[in-house]
């Protein structure tokens, strides 16, 4: 099974069987509503998650809304 190393939210992770952003979110068990994703500092629009490939050492940021003033 193909494995890639990603830096996700600042943590180095080895992930298998994941080739695009949509698959990564599902593999991480992240509810896909109301999160935003950046890969290497570029925002990936929701409609492009399935078509955006991930490569070794990509830096992924996944953010959501939390309580704030």
């Amino acid at each position: 099974m193909r494995e890639i190393q990603l830096e996700i939210n600042g943590e180095r992770r080895t992930i298998s069987a994941v080739s695009n952003v949509g698959e990564l979110l599902r593999a991480l068990g992240i509810s896909e509503s109301r999160v935003a994703v950046e890969v290497n500092r570029n925002i990936i629009r929701r409609g492009e998650w399935e078509s955006t490939p991930l490569a070794d050492l990509d830096r992924v940021e996944i953010v959501q809304f939390v309580g704030g003033g």
Binding site: I30, V35, Q64, G68, G69
Partner: protein
């Protein structure tokens, strides 16, 4: 004609709101308490922050406790210290959220959380150009308020006192000067500690008040949320009703004639 709150809509960024109280969602003891406080505040705009998803444990989602058909979500750029950081956070918020509105914060100093107004102006110009509805958290400087307005901000949001300080409006004279030259709504953002502080802001003629700690940090956040709702309403009504001038000496309320001796 006598003033009626029902005819006094709050126009902001091309939208119409009834409530002039904007409420933050941070620092509540639980999401359930927050939900009840939001309900009791009757706010229609609630602020949220943008942060990394926790990968190691699944946590409850804030938005499970906020009915987005009822509350308009206003993401902030809290904890951003440069214009670039704030612009990036605004983009992430737009992508994660439901609108292109942003409560723009560019913080200049950790201890005071005062805004870096130079960077704030830069970020405001940039985000306005990109079509964002920008609501900048600024200091109580009338010149900066005017510059933000000229840059296309949809409102100016001067602080009453440092964020979370609860000290009330420290410089009402400056807020009055800001109001004199403002053509966009003026929203006091930060520093409100109790109901009278919110009333003072509204009595000065501010269009709305934004607060978080003043409610969330109260011993009974739910009751304070309602107190703030009433204070904002009372302050607004008093402002529209037109207060009496301040005088040094008394003027009797009862007739001076016909006193029985």
């Amino acid at each position: 004609m006598t003033y009626s709150q029902a005819d006094d809509a709050f126009l902001l960024g091309g939208r119409t709101f009834r409530s002039r109280l904007l409420v933050g969602t941070g620092k509540y003891s639980t999401f359930a308490v927050m939900k009840e406080a939001l309900d009791r505040s009757e706010a229609q705009i609630v602020t949220v922050a943008v942060r990394r998803v926790n990968l190691n444990r699944s946590t409850e989602s804030l938005l499970d406790y906020i009915d987005t058909s009822r509350f308009f979500i206003l993401p902030n750029t809290a904890a951003c210290y440069t214009a670039d950081d704030a612009i990036r956070t605004a983009h992430l918020a737009r992508e994660a959220g439901l609108s292109n509105w942003v409560k723009l914060e560019v913080i200049g100093d950790e201890k005071t959380l005062f805004p870096d107004t130079e960077a704030l102006l830069t970020a405001t110009r940039s985000l306005v150009k990109e079509g964002f509805v920008v609501l900048p958290y600024t200091n109580d400087d009338p010149i900066m308020a005017r510059k933000l307005q000229d840059a296309g901000a949809a409102a100016v949001m001067p602080l009453g006192a440092p964020i979370g300080s609860g000290m009330g409006i420290q410089n009402p004279a400056n807020i009055r000067i800001i109001l004199e030259s403002a053509s966009v709504p003026v929203i006091v953002d930060a520093g409100v500690g109790t109901a009278s502080d919110a009333s003072v802001a509204m009595e000065l003629g501010c269009d709305a008040v934004l607060m978080n700690t003043g409610i969330a940090g109260a011993q009974d956040a739910v009751a304070m949320a309602e107190a703030m709702k009433l204070a904002v309403q009372a302050g607004r009504m008093a402002f529209k009703a037109g207060r009496i001038p301040r005088k040094l000496y008394a003027s009797a309320s009862s007739p001076l004639q016909g006193i029985s001796r």
